[in-house]
Structures are given as C-alpha cells and as structure tokens.
Amino acid sequence: MSPVFIILALVTFMAAAAAMTLRHLVHCALAMAVSFVGLAAIYLQLNAQFVGFAQVLVYVGAVAILIVFAILLTRSGEVSNDSIVAPGWVWGVGMAVVIFAVIGWAVLNSPGLPVEAAEAPEVTVRQIGNDLMTRYVVPLEVVGCLLTAALIGAVVIALRDREGEP
C-alpha cells in the first residue's frame, strides 16, 4: 500500500463517515461529494483514467447536484435538534454484531481457496472504445436509445406552452 493510497482511502472514509454523522443534510451531501472525488482519485491512482473521469463527471457533476437540489426543494433550512441516531439503535447494533459474527464464523471455518494474483490489464481508452463498439455494442445501443428517449421525452413534456402565454 503506497502512502498516496492510504491518504486517499482516509479522505474517502472520513468523508463517508461525515456524510453519515453530520447534522445538516446539505453538509452531508457535500461530504458525500468529497467521498466521490476520493473514489475517483483512487481510480486514477490505479491508472483507470476513463472510470475516474466518468466518476467525477457523473457523480460530482450530476448526482451530487441532484441530491442537493432534492434537499433544498423538500426540506426547510431548520436543523432538527433530535439525536442523530435512531431510538432503536441498540437493537440495530446487536443485529449487526450477530450477523457479522455468523458471517465471520462461516468464513473462518470454510476451506480456503488458492488465490492467484491476477495480472493487472493495461486498459487504454482505445481498448474501452473498441470493446464498447464490438463486444458490448448491443447493451451500449440499448442504453443510448434509452437515454436519448429520456432526453427527448423531457423536452416534449416541457414543450407544451401554457395557454395564453405570448
């Protein structure tokens, strides 16, 4: 583990923890955006440029904005003074511990499989493009049609002018 990875992992984890524990919902959303960026940086550190940039473009540029808008449009600005943990938290923690114990027990008692170190593939953007256009062309086309239809559908819904508008 390189020091860069450790720093990035710490930032991502701390941001994710902050997203769960902060009092103000908008702060939580912003902390989550930081954890998205941390994840993207980890992808970049693994030489996965395409995934890293797409992560920033989609998650920071669109999903985080969507969440923030949803919070603004549905909640008032007041921060509630209630405790941040739900009332039945003892039961929740108990269940989590039991399930973790069961899974841990099962894992520890199962026969280990020999693990071969996989060779890291050199993935270039050109390869991703070639694969998308040959092996995965049908899913790509389906997704493309779906997204274009959604885009045009949104415009069609918005196209109807209200009566009497100049």
Binding site: V37, F53, V56, A64, V68, R126
Partner: protein, 391 residues
C-alpha cells in the same frame, strides 16, 4: 531556426529540468508547467479585464478606465491591490466553513482544466488519453462550488443566483458535450493532441479545420453559445444579473474571495475558448499554408484573444435573456440541433469525398435550423423593437 523558435519553451523546460537530480525531475517538470500556466493565463486575465472595460466603454460610448498608466492600461494593478487589502467580510449567519471553501473549490477545477489544453506544438502539461473527458469532468465540478457559495451565504439573492446558475450550467452542458461529440467521432480519439493533429494540413492554402465543414460550422456555433452560457457571460448572465440579484451567488463575498470568483470566471472562459479552438479552429495550426513559419503558440494565443474579443463584443451588444427564454433556448433549440448535427457528422463521414456530401450535410444542418426556428416562433409575436429616446 524557425524550428527552435517554435520549440523554444519546450527546450527551455527540458534544459531547466535537466539541472535537477533524477529524483526531483518529475516534480520540477510539473511545477514548471503549473507555473507557466498560472503565469501566462494570469497575465492574460489582467490584460483581458482592461481590454474588456475599454472595449465595453467604446461600445457604450464612454472612455472606460483612463486614469492609471498610459490610456488607463495599468488599471488592473490598483484593482488587484485593492482586492488584496480590502476587508474580508463574512455575514454573521453564514455557514463559515462552506463559505470559506467555496471560492477555492471554484478555482481549483478551472485551473485543472488547463492541464490538458495543447497551447502549442508539444506544449500541453499532461497528455491524457481521455483529455476531453478530463476537461468536462473538471468543468462539471464547478457547479457544486457555485451551490456552496450561494447556499452558505444565507442570503436569498445568493441562493436564487446559485439555483439559476446551476440550472443554466446543467442545461447548457448537454449541448456543449454533444457539440464536441461530432469532433470526437470524426477524429476517433479523446486525446486533445490527436484532435489538433487531425486538423493539420491544407487544401491548397485553406486549412483543414473542422469549422470549415458544415457539421463543424454548426458545431462550433453550438459550442460557442453553450460555452458563453457555461461561463455565465452576458447575454446568459442571469445568475449574477445586477438589476435583479445584486451579484448572484457571490453577493456576500468581498476582498480577495470575490476576486477569486472573478478570476475563476475569466479562467473558465479562457479554458473553454481554448477547448473551442482545439476542437474546431485547428488548435495551434496556422490559418493559411504560407503562414506556418509563425510559432504554434502564437497562433493559439491569437485565436484565444480573438475569441475573447468575440465574448466582449457579444456582451456589449446583446441584451440579457429572460429565465424561460434561456431554458427554452437550451432545450428546444440547442439540444435538437446538437443531436441533428451528430447525424450530419456521421453522414459526412460515410459519404466519402466529393461535393455531394457538402450538399447533403449543408441541407442536414440548414434545413432543421430553419424548420426549428419557424416552429419555435410560430405563436410568438415578434416585432421590431422601438426605442423612445435612443433614436
């Protein structure tokens, strides 16, 4: 001789990096590139502010700044000093941490975008395979900073400005990206250097820039309009409309934090103009075949300054849009045109050489343009505007 002049900055950097021990070389190389980008574009920012104020003054029939230095051309120096020593004012109700972070978060992605711009032959800071994706990813992250600024100020004007800005940036990002998809299709690469190289060479004396093809022409205009909206420039400056929202999302900022927003906006404008140059205007290639002896970076900056002048010109002459006009324009005109333009580019690619593809592609671009324009204007009463006092 001309070759050395063209590559002078590259060889100077190699020489400077060679002075350091092997271990430090990547670090020094990176630091030198960053310093060059910030220095050159920072200087361009200083010049542009004065250029813009003088130009707008000329358009509006007033002298503009004319006190500091010859003809007022040193006005940016006192402006900068003023921004640095002004009191930094934070509203009492503001969310202090987010309020502090917003300008920084706004500036960083804008500066990052410069990393992939090829400003001359062999002159881009990093050569990513997915360069254009990197550029758009960096551009998309500024939206969150705008929200942070508007929301943390606890001011209704700021919040309204931020919401307007984000809605506008998201809407215009779609035509911006779709317009550049045509170039990516044609070149077959996301690498900005490869895109510039694809536009090298000349037909007789005319360059092979993409703007000189029907789809490239339409693409350039769609890209340029969307870029204007992305950088919140007039006529798309609703997020900071002075008469409605004081200053929009940075109303509650003062001193150097305000200056950071100002700088980031201009840097964003330069970056997106640089991308327009790279995608459609041939990057650092010379415009005519007998002008190739001029160094490549000169051409890049000549084109950049021309585009900035175009930005200033449009700002000085076109009135601000209304919010519904802005959204309608993005979704009902820009988006369909961008989609049709992709089809036109595909037809262009598969029809091979000859003049028929010029005819078909021109029809494919002009036809929908005329039809869309007529359909959108159908129930609107458009008449000549009359001015009571200005005539």
């Amino acid at each position: 001789m001309l070759e050395t002049l063209d590559q002078i900055f590259v060889s100077m950097k190699h020489w400077a990096v060679g002075l350091f021990p092997d271990m430090l070389q990547p670090l020094v190389s990176g630091a030198l590139s960053v310093a060059a980008i910030i220095g050159v574009f920072g200087a361009l920012f200083a010049v542009t502010t004065i250029f813009e104020r003088k130009g707008l003054g000329r358009i509006q029939n007033r002298p503009g700044p004319n006190r500091v230095g010859p003809g007022g051309f040193l006005q940016f120096l006192p402006d900068g000093i003023k921004a640095l020593i002004k009191e930094d004012f934070v509203p009492q109700a503001a969310d202090k941490v987010v309020h502090f972070l917003a300008p920084v978060v706004f500036l960083i992605p804008v500066l990052l975008a410069y990393a992939v711009l090829p400003v001359g032959r062999n002159m881009s800071a990093v050569d990513f395979d997915a360069g254009i994706l990197f550029f758009f990813a960096a551009g998309a992250s500024t939206e969150l900073a705008v929200f942070m600024a508007g929301w943390s100020s606890r001011n209704k004007y700021s919040l309204l400005g931020a919401l307007r800005a984000i809605a506008q940036m998201i809407s215009y990002e779609i035509p911006l990206i779709l317009a550049s998809v045509t170039v990516i299709m044609m070149v077959g690469s996301l690498n900005l250097n490869a895109i510039v190289q694809a536009q090298e060479g000349y037909h007789w004396v005319l360059p092979r820039w993409f703007v000189l093809t029907p789809w490239g022409f339409a693409g350039f205009f769609l890209f340029f309009i969307a870029a204007m909206a992305e950088s919140n420039r007039s006529p798309f400056d609703l997020p900071e409309a002075e008469s409605e929202l004081v200053a929009g999302y940075f109303t509650e900022y003062s001193g150097f934090k305000f200056a950071l927003f100002f700088i980031a906006e201009y840097f964003g404008m330069f970056a997106v103009s640089g991308l327009a140059i790279t995608l459609f205007l041939g990057g650092w290639n010379a415009p005519l075949s007998f002008l190739t002896w001029v160094p490549s970076y000169v051409w890049f900056f000549v084109k950049l300054i021309s585009l900035i002048f175009l930005f200033i010109w449009v700002r000085g002459t076109v009135p601000r849009l209304r919010m519904d006009q802005l959204m309608n324009f993005a979704w009902k005109f820009m988006l369909p045109m961008a989609l049709i333009n992709i089809v036109a580019a595909a037809v262009w690619h598969y029809m091979g050489g000859g003049w028929t593809r010029w005819l078909v592609c021109t029809l494919l671009v002009v036809g929908p343009y005329v039809m869309l324009g007529q359909a959108l204007l159908e129930h609107k009463q458009v008449s000549r505007r009359t001015y009571r006092f200005a005539d």
